[in-house]
């Protein structure tokens, strides 16, 4: 167990490799209760408009059931956090509600930022992170196992949608995740979390699944090319540099940081996020410098030996001149130069 943003988290239950593979092949269960969970109350339309002004992606007017991955940025376009904004049906089905899931390490900052921006609106925040739990059930067999226990089959939910339903009590079930696999996430009151975990775990074990820790969450998300706050994302990174175009809707709307993001998109001197594949099995990790010939073109922000791909992969911020796919670079790993090539992100796509 390690301390992670004040939470005691399992890095690995057994072997990182085994936990990674079980998630790709069957089911990996992740306790992600450390993620911040914030509910919003007030006029629903007003909440949607308000959140829309604080996120890079349009959320105002989305239909009940929808979930949007989005960035929350400062005026200068720096990324305060990457979040999911949820607009979901409640248990009765006719009173949809807004909520947000943010990173554990940014929770206090995001709560303060949201509070600061309420202004005169009659909107209230309810941070229920510590009274609720969140379990990610990921992998090709994840939904079928959860379907046996839940009043709603996750497979009937569209990707990045969710609903309130019953699973040993009131839960929120969403078809989301951070592994590159299909699967779902369950949010529930902390009082029933252990029972849900144990029931899902028993069912998962029967078909080759099990618990997966924080370490393989990192190798899984890296293979899937998903950014991690503190590595690919940070306050010193402008949203325009991230190559997360799907999460940015700039036309016909205004949000905090937009002008700075639009300006950064036109600035060809800024490094942008790319994927690198290295020769051999040695991993280029955070902080390694990347060169084209003799020229320093950027820095690695995450890297690992990828268990599914059996290759060494990294994400890096490189100057635009070095970002074309196929560009040959070298990475300095503790004084030794290693050849690498710019490749497409995601590195891994699940078989459809």
């Amino acid at each position: 167990m390690v301390d992670f943003a004040g939470w005691e988290m399992p890095v690995q239950y057994s072997s990182i490799m085994d936990e990674h593979h079980q998630t790709r092949k069957a089911i990996g269960m992740f306790d992600v209760s450390h993620m911040g969970r914030i509910w919003f109350s007030g006029d629903r339309e007003e909440i949607g408009q308000w959140l829309d002004g604080l996120t890079t992606r349009r959320v105002a007017g989305i239909a009940p059931g929808k979930i949007r991955y989005s960035l929350v940025c400062s005026q200068t376009g720096g990324i305060l956090d990457d979040v999911l904004v949820y607009y979901l049906p409640d248990a009765s089905g006719d009173q949809p509600f807004w909520m947000m899931v943010c990173n554990a390490s940014n929770r206090a900052k995001i709560v303060a930022w949201l509070e600061q921006h309420i202004g005169g609106r009659a909107i209230k925040l309810d941070d229920r992170t510590e009274s609720t739990a969140m379990i990610a059930v990921q992998g090709p067999a994840a939904n079928q196992v959860v379907a046996k226990l839940s009043s709603v089959d996750p497979d009937t939910l569209g990707y990045y949608t969710g609903t309130s339903c019953q699973l040993l009590g009131d839960v929120i079930l969403t078809r989301t995740g951070y592994t590159g696999e299909d699967g779902c996430e369950i949010m529930c009151d902390a009082s029933i979390a252990l029972e849900i975990w144990e029931k899902v775990y028993a069912a998962a074990q029967e078909i080759g699944g099990g618990a997966s820790g924080l370490a393989c969450r990192d190798t899984l998300r890296l293979e899937a090319g998903m950014p991690l706050y503190g590595h690919e994302l940070g306050e010193d990174v402008n949203a325009a540099q991230t190559d997360l175009r799907f999460a940015m809707q700039l036309k016909d709307r205004e949000f905090t940081g937009k002008a700075a993001i639009v300006a950064a998109m036109k600035d060809s001197s800024l490094p942008v996020r790319v994927g690198l594949q290295l020769e051999g099995r040695r991993a280029a990790r955070e902080g390694c410098t990347v060169f084209v010939g003799e020229k320093n073109v950027g820095t690695v922000v995450s890297g690992t030996f990828a268990p599914t791909l059996q290759k060494s992969i990294s994400m890096a911020y490189l100057l635009p001149e070095a970002t074309e796919l196929g560009t040959e670079v070298t990475v300095d790993i503790r004084g030794k130069s290693h050849p690498a090539v710019v490749v497409e992100v995601p590195f891994y796509k699940r078989p459809s």
């Binding site: 072997s15 990182i16 990674h20 099995r281 040695r282 991993a283 030996f305 503790r334």
Partner: protein, 127 residues
Amino acid sequence: MNPENLLFADTHEWAAVEDGVATIGISANAVEALTDLVYMELPSVGDLVDVGQAFGEVESVKATSEMYSPVAGEIVEVNSSIVDSLETLNTDPYEAGWIIKVKMNGDTGVDKLLSYTDYQKQCDEAS
């Protein structure tokens, strides 16, 4: 090799000293703690090492760790085939899993090494 006949550094390397040559590897405890080894960076024959100096790196999915020489001298042999069979470090860390052999220039460092029993005691206390 029976680990009880080996000497251990508190940085988890083992050494078997015979006729002025130290055979060096890493302990089963270290291999277990690292888990999921994927890569090893090895030195070359002829390289000189000092006591406590890094002679290579072992990399797991989780992290990279340096391996430190428990003795001083010249590297006279490197088990380079181990890079392609890192599982040997799990199955036979004290025999087939040896990593380098060092022709020692003196006994510097050897007196600082721990017996197997003391090393195990140290590992137990740390965990």
